[in-house]
Subunit: 147 residues, 2 copies
DNA sequence: TTCTCTGCAAACGCTTTGCACGGAT
DNA sequence: ATCCGTGCAAAGCGTTTGCAGAGAA
């Protein structure tokens, strides 16, 4: 329990530091985003937290996610059309979506081209790299060989 | 006029070859996608063509775009949440969206990392690279220096 | 009290679905 | 006559907005 409490405390401090009033709902939503690596949708966040916060509304989830995005501590990913997924900001990385199991995996970006500040005379401030294919776990399951 | 007719003929042949019955609406929609470099939304396609095809319906635009995507001759881009843009498939390239003027510009992908067939043991079949920033035209307008 | 956060209900906008008409074979 | 494409109208679904009540300062 101690571990959880210090985690909650850390989140609280972080939100305060970003000028965000750390309400209970906001704490729990940010904690969910920063702990798990599941890149949840708004709907998944709602359905996960509603078990422990029975009064939670989707409006609050959306309000909170939009606030987090405005404050720059959370990013919305639209790897596939028609579903936005969210993640807490960490270091730059690419996303890999397995078309077989649907998993979304963080990947390193190992490419000097993607560090360029200018490309073709255009000033680059944001980079989003999405890969799709079959993840190693699915390949094993189907008896395919990796590499 | 000759040029346009041969262009229409070329599109007709292409669609036939892909197993798509080249109806007038489909022809015009594909022509729009393959000629212009504007990466239009479904709505923009509708509003562009309605001038010349007054009976056109949005349903047909959506039907057609979905058909094209299923046949693999058109790709839907979701550079920004909540708007899907379409482009005819050509060679792999990145997209740059200017946050100032909203223009979407095709860019070369100059990066061996993005040609890798496997990354971290995952088999990569699709790559989507979106950059955002200020395009060279806007930088000139605001008196910023490129490079 | 005042200000902010929450959450219900309704509105919104894009996309899909149901279905009937019309054209082509 | 059959099949396929079209397009109207309605439904669907994720997200936002309006607003009133609860809670903190």
């Amino acid at each position: 329990m101690q571990g959880q409490e210090t985690s909650i405390e850390a989140v609280k401090n972080y939100l305060n530091q970003k000028g965000i009033n750390p309400s209970y709902q906001r704490l729990r939503i940010f904690e969910l985003l920063s702990s798990g690596k599941n890149h949840p949708t708004a709907d998944l966040i709602y359905n996960t937290l509603i078990r422990e916060i029975p009064t939670l509304s989707k409006t609050t989830v959306y309000n909170t996610l939009n606030l987090f995005q405005k404050r720059g501590i959370v990013t919305g990913l639209t790897i596939d059309e028609n579903e936005v997924r969210y993640e807490a900001n960490t270091k730059p990385h690419a996303h890999f979506k397995c078309t077989s199991c649907g998993a979304i995996i963080d990947m390193p970006i190992d490419c000097p081209y993607l560090a360029e500040k200018f490309v073709d005379g255009n000033k680059v401030t944001e980079r989003h790299l999405y890969l799709k294919g079959i993840c190693s776990a699915c390949m094993k399951m189907y008896g395919m060989t990796g590499q």
